[in-house]
């Protein structure tokens, strides 16, 4: 009656030109809880999205219960009893808890059976109590906290006739007692014959709940281990995997002048009490897991996000509250999502390069095309942007070249502080090296760089200091020789002694 097993064979997936999964083989036995671990960007979430039908694999086969599922639609997969509980709850904010839970309930078209709200409410209340939720099934979901919303998502999965449950980092926003109750429910469910795929970042939880663990790294399966035969240390070693290279850049010319001071910054729900300073010529790395509040920190500093407390000052002690003030103070932000925030995709490369520099190339509000052409040509050469012509549209460029454009448009100006989010995501190896070189050169001329990165190697090689964030807080600072993957990962998953597992 339940899936005997799920067999994924040679799954490969590309997003644009970046390959996120490479020949992944994954087998789920009936009645097991199978954990998937790996660093950010290792491909965990992509793999389970493929299994649940949200995205389709470019290559490879998926068999469930012996039948081929490779080309099944989301609806077919969802209605066959597969539920994916994602980091972000898939809920309908305008509906009540009860309505959210029932909305995809299947009433057989053959039977004349009417949907019974009273019965559904009683069942939902029972499940909510089992998970220890204290809200009424009639509360509007809009008014619930993220943790409560996740519970609602869980309940709506549990109400279905489940054949496979996938939970993607369910514990990130839960308190320890909530995690306990969740685990009890998962175990009970598993005992009743539902296989579970569990993605988690807190390794001690992974070890507690799972029967087997698969380690993914850079889109490939490194190992699949029986949980009782492995340990936290071994998993971290497998996740990190590579030899840690020596840092290639020298950091001797570090100046002492403070360029940017962040004091007690709070952005409700994202950032709590973050303080740090950046010196001139310094590259400050910010590490942490997805959802730790790193991008939000950059956006809060740049004045894009509401802050309820705290202060950002530049070298002259000027307060920076809005994006306009930030730009005037010589701060630039290169966002993670180039396609939406960094680049005008339907505009030419030269226009993208000019847009921040219009002051230089225009007079009395009128554009001077000759000057624009000279300037953009200069930038294209200086930053080695590979294009056929300057009138090419932004969307036609590769990820690497897009990133160079979004950097180049800022770096023509007198930028003192560069805030950069995931500088090499979706960027090919060649461009990545060039971008790293650019960042280093810029730093050596006195520019400060605050770099958020999920790429461990990038963080370690480029940064003078690394701050590691978790749940919107800075968990620790690593300097010089102390910067290594293991230390970062430990801080990021809250493993270091003295830190607590939960938010509260």
């Amino acid at each position: 009656m339940s899936l005997d097993s799920l067999v994924c064979t040679d799954i490969s997936k590309w997003y644009g030109e970046a390959q996120v999964l490479n020949n992944v083989n994954f087998t789920l036995a009936a009645n097991e809880i199978h954990a998937i671990v790996g660093e950010n960007g290792a491909g965990k979430s992509t793999l389970v999205k493929i299994i649940s039908g949200l995205v389709s694999a470019d290559l490879g086969k998926i068999q469930a219960n012996g039948t081929d599922r490779t080309h099944a639609s989301i609806r077919e997969i969802q209605n066959s009893g597969v539920a994916l509980i994602h980091q972000e709850p898939r809920l309908f904010p305008d509906l009540s808890v009860l309505e959210n839970v029932c909305v995809d309930y299947q009433v057989k078209t053959t039977s004349r059976e009417r949907f019974n709200w009273k019965k559904a409410e009683a069942e939902t209340v029972a499940l909510l109590e089992e998970l220890g939720c204290s809200f009424s099934p009639n509360s509007p979901v809009r008014a619930l906290s993220v943790a409560d919303q996740q519970m609602v998502d869980m309940v709506s999965a549990l109400r279905k006739k489940l054949k496979l449950l996938i939970v993607d980092e369910p514990t990130a926003s839960l308190t320890p007692s909530e995690v306990d109750r969740l685990f009890t429910t998962l175990r009970k469910l598993n005992k009743n014959g539902v296989p579970i795929i569990f993605i988690g970042h807190r390794l001690e939880e992974v070890l507690e709940i799972s029967d087997r663990v698969t380690v993914l790294k850079d889109g490939e399966v490194v190992a699949t281990k029986k949980t009782k035969d492995t340990s936290e240390d071994e998993l971290i070693r497998l996740m990190v995997g590579r030899n840690i290279e020596q840092r290639t850049w020298s950091h001797e010319n570090l100046k002492t002048q403070t360029q940017l001071a962040v004091n007690g910054l709070v952005s409700p729900g994202f950032i709590s009490d973050v303080s740090f300073e950046v010196k001139a010529g310094e590259i400050l790395g910010i590490g942490g897991l997805v959802g730790a509040g790193r991008s939000e920190l950059l956006e809060t500093i740049f004045g894009l996000r509401h802050r309820s407390a705290g202060d950002v000052t530049d070298s002259q002690g000027k307060h920076i509250k809005t994006a306009q003030q930030a730009i005037q103070a010589g701060i630039a932000l290169v966002p993670e999502d180039r396609a939406h925030n960094g680049l005008a995709l339907n505009r030419s490369v030269s226009e993208n390069l000019i847009v921040n520099n219009l002051g230089l190339t225009s007079k009395w509000g009128t554009r001077n095309f000759k000057k624009e052409q000279l300037l953009s040509q200069g930038l294209i050469e200086k930053f080695r942007i590979k294009i056929s012509q300057a009138t090419q549209f932004g969307r036609e460029l590769s990820g690497g070249n897009q990133q160079k454009v979004s950097l180049a448009k800022w770096l023509n100006q007198e930028i003192k502080i560069l805030l950069i989010d995931e500088p090499s995501r979706g960027v090919d190896v060649g461009s990545k090296a060039e971008i790293h070189q650019l960042l280093n050169e810029s730093a050596s001329t006195g520019m400060s760089v605050v770099m958020v990165s999920s790429d461990m190697r990038e963080l370690i090689e480029l940064s003078h200091r690394v701050l590691v964030m978790r749940n919107g807080r800075i968990m620790g600072e690593l300097r010089g020789k102390d910067i290594n993957e293991e230390a970062i990962l430990r801080l990021a998953s809250g493993l270091t002694a003295g830190s607590t597992g939960g938010k509260k």
Binding site: R90, P93, L144
Partner: protein, 342 residues
């Protein structure tokens, strides 16, 4: 820990003050009493019937438009759909005066439903934003009226008396027009409050990506709401014929979309989808009717009427935003209290 098992607010009017429609209801009441105080003639029963009759068509079409707006769509072509149905039915009635009324009503539903189907297909499978798609069909359907009628209008003496009677009489003391309006509003209300299908309509407007990932039939639901609205607009066509007896190809239903969308928005339906109710829309229709009638009765120049409707929309939406914010705060506080007491 025991959860308080409240009776479901979807099933009973647990607390009228917590209802979304409360703000607009107060608005209607105040306006109603004000006009009455200024001019007692306003309260006379023939005037009250006139107000109700004047918004009957608006309610029929508004009930459907509520569902469409709840799904994050909009239908601008309702006036042309209503006109096309009125013209088709009118021409049949002119050439076959003995054609049964029930048959004419069914034809109007089919014609309107077909127009709605075209809109729904363009929006769902055609992936055209509804505001553009229905802007196009607004012109196409209007053009079809001219082609169909050869630009010849239906005159009052072409309309059988039994059709005219729909607007004034029925076996019970309420005219058919208002019975249909009541059925449309309560039908949509029932659909959205009591049925899973109705909840799915709200779900796809509340979180489209979530709806797809939960495996809801996104396109089918979208098409369905457009067909429901089209059919109701078609029914509105017969009601138009009953009320006005003249069907001019250029005038029939022209500008109806403005009044309908106004009524829906005044009634508290979120223009960005996800929330709203047919009851609110009915109140919105009443508000428009009372305002229009009241301004005339107390002797305000008709030139001010359009302006007043516009101001009313703005006031209603502002009020609605405040009410919604307040309700959210109340819910949050309630949940926090539960936490503390735990």
């Amino acid at each position: 820990m025991k959860l308080a098992l409240r009776s479901n607010p979807n099933h009973a009017i647990t607390n009228i003050f917590k209802k979304r429609e409360f703000g607009i209801f107060i608005f209607v009441l105040v306006l109603f009493l004000t006009f009455g105080a200024l001019q007692p003639r306003f309260f006379r029963s023939d005037n009250l019937w006139a107000i109700l009759s004047s918004v009957g068509i608006l309610m029929i079409v508004g009930a459907g438009q509520t569902l469409v707006i709840v799904t994050r769509n909009i239908d601008l072509s309702v006036g042309s759909t209503l006109g096309l149905s009125a013209m088709a039915v009118g021409m049949i009635a002119r050439s076959h005066p003995t054609f049964p009324t029930i048959g004419l009503l069914l034809i109007s539903l089919v014609v309107g439903g077909f127009c709605g189907l075209i809109n729904g297909l363009l929006v769902s499978y055609g992936k055209i934003p509804s505001i553009i798609a229905t802007l196009g069909t607004l012109a196409v359907f209007r053009g079809a009226i001219f082609v169909l009628s050869n630009n010849v209008q239906i005159d009052p003496n072409d309309v059988p008396k039994k059709i005219i009677d729909l607007g004034v009489t029925s076996p019970i003391w309420v005219p058919w027009l208002l019975i249909f309006a009541f059925l449309a509003i309560s039908g949509v209300s029932l659909l959205s409050r009591r049925t899973l299908a109705g909840k799915r309509i709200y779900a796809i407007g509340s979180n489209p990506e979530g709806a797809i990932s939960r495996g809801l039939a996104f396109n089918r639901i979208t098409i369905t709401v457009f067909v429901i609205l089209g059919a109701l607009a078609g029914l509105g066509g017969v009601m138009y014929m009953a009320r006005y007896a003249t069907i001019n190809p250029a005038d029939v239903g022209r500008g109806l979309e403005f009044d309908v969308i106004s009524a829906v928005v005044i009634g508290g339906t979120n223009i960005f989808g996800g929330s709203g109710s047919a009851l609110g829309t009915a109140l919105g229709c009443l508000l428009i009717g009372i305002l229009s009638n009241g301004l005339t009765v107390v002797g305000v120049s008709p030139f001010y009427k359009t302006c007043a409707t516009g101001i009313l929309i703005l006031a209603a939406v502002t009020l609605d935003n405040l009410v919604r914010k307040k309700q959210d705060q109340n819910f949050l506080q309630e949940i926090r209290k539960q936490r503390v007491s735990k």
